[in-house]
Symmetry: C2
């Protein structure tokens, strides 16, 4: 392992935001797939690294770091020139952190209820109600994106594009996959197209696909 | 409004962590009760400030800030001498942020499922199953606190006491109120007693009680 950082991820999961952050700052890192769909987060070797049974996990020279927000803050502090978060004032930085925290604390748990109702209630007959209640809440929350963008700004933070846009993008994509409708929001749709074209996002998709293909071919990247 | 900061809170809610942070750094602030139990977060005047319908909300000279993590980061940056988070290295700070993010993204949503099953599923007959599933997950997650403390450390971050201890404390207290058992964890119990005795925590309880009493007496603090 000669890379400076090791990132444990699952394809398509919220670890995409951490991969995009590593691409954004230009860090030297290696990717390690932990397939949630195959319950690999419960393998003893991974549990020893991250007892939370979650991705992402960033292993640094100082130790391991879980949670997207902690990884974002760590990279922001270590690569101040990369402008991963706005740094004009503590308020500007905190505003971007507020968007990231909203993704982690509100949107992601709602997405979990939509996609993994089986982890909320043991009876399959109850899952559809749980999904519908969560979808309604998710739609109500996502309206905040449209409202924020309706003043004509290009990115969620007036200070400019930041990792907040990419974490909200991941949440929007997952919400749509789960059945959330967003066509009624024109500003959100235009912003989504801009965010999806961000070079850190497109490079993330390439790196993630390469790492999955390499694993399938039995090669460690 | 002559105080530097205005904090909107609900008694007992996770806004306690932000009040404790304001006490910790010695900020000049006023408290404004928004009683979630009376759905006051949906009043138009508050919705105009915070369309997320949540507390806490910190209003600063630059603008409003929601999300505990954003408020914590903002105060940490504006009061660097207060050591709200460890600042020895970016990794130390990020490790404390990782604990805070775990509270917001994992523990708090589980506590919500335990306490507000009515917001997860419309039928009361299903609420107990939802609560029990969430309680089992919560207990499994909280074991991480015991495991972390079992090396003899006094606080969650080896670098020392931080706001992370107080946010985890709030989660532990709420989990216990919801029926989570923690008596099997001796290190957690000793840590809980230490954290509850922290002066920022005890002063927070006083300020919160004063603000509630003042509101009941019809006085604005």
């Amino acid at each position: 392992m000669t890379s400076a950082y090791q990132l444990y991820f699952s394809p398509g999961a919220c670890s995409r935001v951490s991969i995009a952050a590593l691409e954004w700052v230009g860090a030297d890192y290696a990717l390690h797939p932990i397939l949630l769909a195959q319950n690999e987060q419960r393998q003893p070797a991974y549990l020893a690294l991250n007892p939370k049974q979650q991705v992402p996990l960033l292993v640094t020279a100082q130790g391991a770091l879980s949670e997207t927000l902690a990884i974002a803050q760590y990279l922001h502090q270590n690569y101040p020139q990369a402008a991963l978060l706005p740094a004009g004032s503590p308020y500007d930085t905190a505003l971007a952190t507020s968007w990231l925290a909203w993704c982690s604390a509100t949107l992601h748990p709602l997405i979990f209820r939509v996609r993994r109702a089986d982890r909320i209630h043991s009876e399959a007959a109850q899952h559809d109600v749980i999904r519908q209640v969560a979808l309604a809440d998710l739609s109500h929350q996502l309206e905040l994106v449209e409202r924020t963008l309706s003043d004509g700004r290009q990115w969620l933070c007036a200070a400019g594009c930041s990792l907040a846009d990419l974490f909200v993008l991941w949440c929007v994509q997952r919400a749509v996959q789960g059945g959330c409708e967003i066509d009624q929001w024109p500003a959100l749709s235009e912003w989504q197209a801009r965010a999806q074209a961000h070079s850190a996002w497109t490079r993330m998709l390439q790196r993630e696909a390469q790492a999955v293909a390499a694993r399938e071919a039995g090669v460690l990247l």
